[in-house]
Amino acid sequence: MSGLAFTTPLLLLGLILLPILWWLLRAVPPAPIRRRFPGIVLLLGLRDDESQTATTPWWLLALRMLAVAAAIVGFAGPILNPRQAGEGQGPLLVVMDASWASARDWPQRIERVEGLLRDAARAGRTAAVLPLTDPLPDAIEWQGAEAWVERLPSIRPRPWAPDYAGLADLDVGGATIVWLSDGLDRPGRDALDATVIEGLRPVLGLTPATYEDGIVSLPALRSPAAGPVAVPVRALGPGPNGGIVELARAEAAFPDGAGEATVEFDLPSELRNRIARFEVDGTRSAGAVALADDSLARREVALLTVARGEGEDLLDPLFYLRRALAPSADVIEGDLDTILPANPDVLVLADVARLSPAEADRVEDWVAEGGLLLRFAGPRLAGSDAGRAAEDPLLPVRLRDGGRSVGGALSWGEPKTLRPFDEDSPFAGLPVPEDVTVTSHVVAQPDPTLATRAIAALADGTPLVTRKALGQGQVVLFHVTANAEWSNLPLSGLFVRMLERLAIATRPARPDADALDGTVWTPRVVLDGFGVERDAGDRAGVAGEVLADATPGPDLPPGLYDGPAQSLAVNVLAADDALAPAAYPPGTDVQPMALQEETDLTPYLLTLALLLVSADVLATLWLGGRLRGGAVAVLALALSVAQPPAAHAQEEPPAIPSEVALAYVVTGDARTDEVSLAGLRGLSEILTARTSVEPDPPRGVDLEADELAFFPMLYWPVVEDQPLPSADAYAKLNAYLRGGGMIVFDTRDADIGGFGSSSPASRRLRDIAAPLDIPPLEPLPADHVLTRSFYLLQDFPGRYASRDLWVEASPDVDVVEGMPFRNLNDGVTPVLIGANDWAAAWALDEGGQPLLPLGGGFAGERQREIAFRFGVNLVMHVLSGNYKSDQVHVPALLDRLGN
């Protein structure tokens, strides 16, 4: 498709003239006259003051030839990448790999398909579009190409691979087939005899993350494996304020020719636990997203250590806990003062009987806020009176005095085994090993709640594990020790799985097919083809067997699936996937995705010709020794004619005003800037007419370049797509604010939302204002000096009449009875934030007439008048400070002077 074409190729015959021209131009100057002249002796030694070479230099000749050639070619109308008229006959079938790998350049694909369809429509051909990620229809739905253009927007990329099965059997009806490939190798690429259109951008993918030795690593894939490149990968998760923020960033450095690179994140557990997804930065594709499920999360378990003697490791109540938890949880140890501020998920008290009342309160508060307190019994608990007389808040049940020993040397009976877990127990389904025995335990005081609180029991029905809810958290008590003193439960695998079930330890790996068998997983979040997370809504649950396979498809969209006590991520790419560039059958016509724009080269060539002619003029003058200022000026004039005149030659006022001048921040949005200028011009005229302030013409201020110190006030209309000022500009703005300047921020959207609402402009304002040195703000109080600095006002309308206007918070001064105003005597507010689009209301055209309509009839005029009055008050406030506020003291001053 690429190439060069001419609208009038016959003109190129003019190029034949070039040799003739060459000969003509090469002709030497006229032959000299031979003249006998006696006065020749007087001539000897004289020099021609304009030397002229006998022959034109070859380079000058070449320049002229080039100029003529450029003109000829230019007039022939060259067009780069001409779009060829619709080709082919019969119906057009567009087959699309509408997969996740197509999402990265989906708009181009749709645009390309649309181009194909429109061409087909022009040729009156029927067409059909077949996204292969959707189930194949029984018969192709042929429609007018125009109708398919209408339907294109409904075709979306899917987050799974296309299915080529059955494609070869499809009855295409002799159609011309165009296959928009996603560029990945899959079996069945040769199912159709098609022209392939392929994107040029590499396909990037992320496979599920794994966690090992404190490092989260996830392999990144790419296709094709070209030169070395570093791809940024982001880890996203909820930030402190609940929004999804970037938690970490790393680079996948693909070596030259390698299709796989491993990204590693070394994160503190606090951050790691929050990771919700990984994504390749800047790539919109479900394949470039790896959702993180519970396998990454590690719970933070705090063990309260109690000072003990040395050399008792195996007897340490925490020893087995540490061993059980270390692989699957982050364990922190210390005293309460150390571990509670870390806000652990689980607090383990192993044989700790009593906490001081203050400590107990703190632990109770912590549990009530969602903590899990796990207690183990032991000699100390058995020997204490905790939970004896009344229920201890930090114990799930009341305990009997002492404990019970069975099967010991001094007791009768056999050591007790465990009873199988009840259905409603969190441990339900865990196999109970026969060899787990309990020789001693503390005994719960029977009471009505005991049955509901016991979640595991001995074979004789004695509660072994009890649990109660406390606030949002829970308290769990193992009635045995955490070491092997009272029971060999901590030595068994059951102990670890019980901890898992209590969500104290997480499962290190994905459940296998057996474990998934018979379970139902409900999707919580699903990805679309672009990698955007969508709420799964009321999607049906997925059987565990399907999940075990974990190949995403229409019945298993990638996403997060919640199952029993665990969530599982289904990602587009599995851990062992690889990406390979597609191999098409030999002889396939593969075209690039980007349809190069048709470029008319005529203006460029003609400009080139003109420039060459100008250069020729210069060169000729130089050769003739007549290159002077005048010639250059003429040439410059010619060049200025050749170029389009500057868009808007505006008369700019000088950068530094000689008088007070109003200024607005140039936003880059031409319309906004125009209105700002007109608005400040209108306000300046009103000020000149009504007050002693006679400002210079207003001007726009470029925050990056201009000095701000000369302007008492900056009007800053906030545009949502306004670029953020640079760090230098912020430094300048802060210096300006500290130096007594005032910025009026105007989000200009009071019609769609008041201040604080989340309109695009106010969001932008938040971004813009974040680095600014702005004091606390408050809504404009009714006694603010702005209400009376010139006019007495209570409304501050612009184009909108919202009363949301924020100024610097005044110090907390009590209202004095009988005084209309508080005794406020501080400086000018450094910022004023509103949304009323004042500039639009102030805007006057050159003739002094309102530029923009405002309201209707008299009410509108009244509103404009009030807007002007507000503007006057604003400027007066800026220029005279709180002078009006000082008037409050006048009675007192007069009183003192008079007496």
């Binding site: 100057p29 006229p30 032959a31 000299p32 006259i33 031979r34 003249r35 006998r36 002249f37 006696p38 006065g39 020749i40 002796v41 007087l42 001539l43 000897l44 004289l46 021609d48 003051d49 304009e50 030397s51 002229q52």
Partner: protein
């Protein structure tokens, strides 16, 4: 008859014609004593000569034979008959016959022809006045008489191959003679300076007549031109001859100033003549310059 150049016969005829309208040229002799040969110029004082001047009373010391006895016999005293002091002037003529003088533009006479005409006219005038005349570049002594005119005319016509520019190398330059040099004086001025210096040393005064073609004065050329000297020995190429005009005219003026300066230093006079002007006016000027002045 060739208008540009003379034949011996036409030269004489034209010279006679030009000279006919003028009174006999009486060259004023400033230093009569320096001349030995008697001429027809009365010196307005007693001296050797043929013409009666005055009778005076014989004084002691006068030779007896100088007493005019016939006059003395008429009275008591003795008288001496004194004659007027007479001396013949010599006019030396030099006509530049170099190639450059043969330049003629349009249908004007060549500079050489004009120079020859003027020279011979002067010679005719001198001979009529009884002066002696000769061509300075010939070894022959100045003589008077019509035969000398014929010889001079023959000698003037005796041209052959000539260099581009001539220089006066007078062979005979009698003390106190008068000289007229006719040339375009475009050549090297050094020989001329030498010649004039030598002439001045010998008490020779005279006139420099610069004869130019109007084209040489105006330089009406333009365009790419290759200028050649008359013999073709010197070439000069220019692309825009017009632009050289000012420089050329300046140099011409400088040359003329040089000549005038030379004349001023040696007591000569300088006359510029163009071939488009009439020869008679030039002859008149020369006559005035050489004739009795003061």
């Amino acid at each position: 008859m060739n208008e540009a150049l003379h034949t011996p016969a036409s030269l004489r005829a034209r010279a006679e014609g030009a000279a006919a309208s003028l009174p006999p040229l009486l060259l004023q002799a400033e230093r009569l004593a320096a001349t030995v040969l008697m001429g027809e110029h009365g010196r307005k004082r007693a001296g050797p000569g043929d013409a009666f001047w005055q009778y005076r009373a014989a004084l002691p010391g006068d030779a007896r034979r100088s007493i005019d006895w016939r006059q003395s016999a008429r009275s008591d005293g003795q008288f001496v008959r004194e004659t007027e002091w007479q001396a013949a002037q010599t006019l030396m003529l030099w006509v530049d016959d170099a190639a450059s003088m043969r330049f003629a533009a349009a249908d004007r006479p060549s500079k050489l022809r004009r120079a020859q005409t003027l020279a011979l006219a002067l010679a005719v005038l001198a001979v009529r006045a009884g002066e002696r005349t000769a061509l300075a570049n010939l070894a022959e002594p100045p003589r008077s008489g019509r035969a000398q005119l014929i010889r001079m005319a023959d000698a003037l016509m005796d041209g052959g191959d000539a260099p581009d520019y001539g220089a006066p190398r007078p062979r005979v330059m009698p003390m106190g003679a008068r000289a007229v040099f006719l040339s375009d004086f475009l050549g090297d001025p050094a020989p001329l300076t030498d010649a004039m210096g030598a002439a001045a040393d010998r008490g020779v005064g005279g006139v420099l007549v610069q004869i130019l073609d109007p084209e040489e004065e105006a330089f009406p050329y333009d365009g790419r031109t290759i200028f050649e000297s008359m013999s073709g020995a010197i070439r000069f190429e220019t692309l825009k001859a017009a632009t050289l005009r000012n420089d050329y005219l300046t140099r011409l003026r400088d040359r003329r100033a040089l000549l005038r300066d030379l004349c001023a230093r040696t007591g000569w006079r300088f006359v510029a003549h163009h071939t488009d002007a009439s020869a008679a006016s030039a002859l008149l000027t020369l006559h005035a310059a050489l004739g009795p002045v003061r």
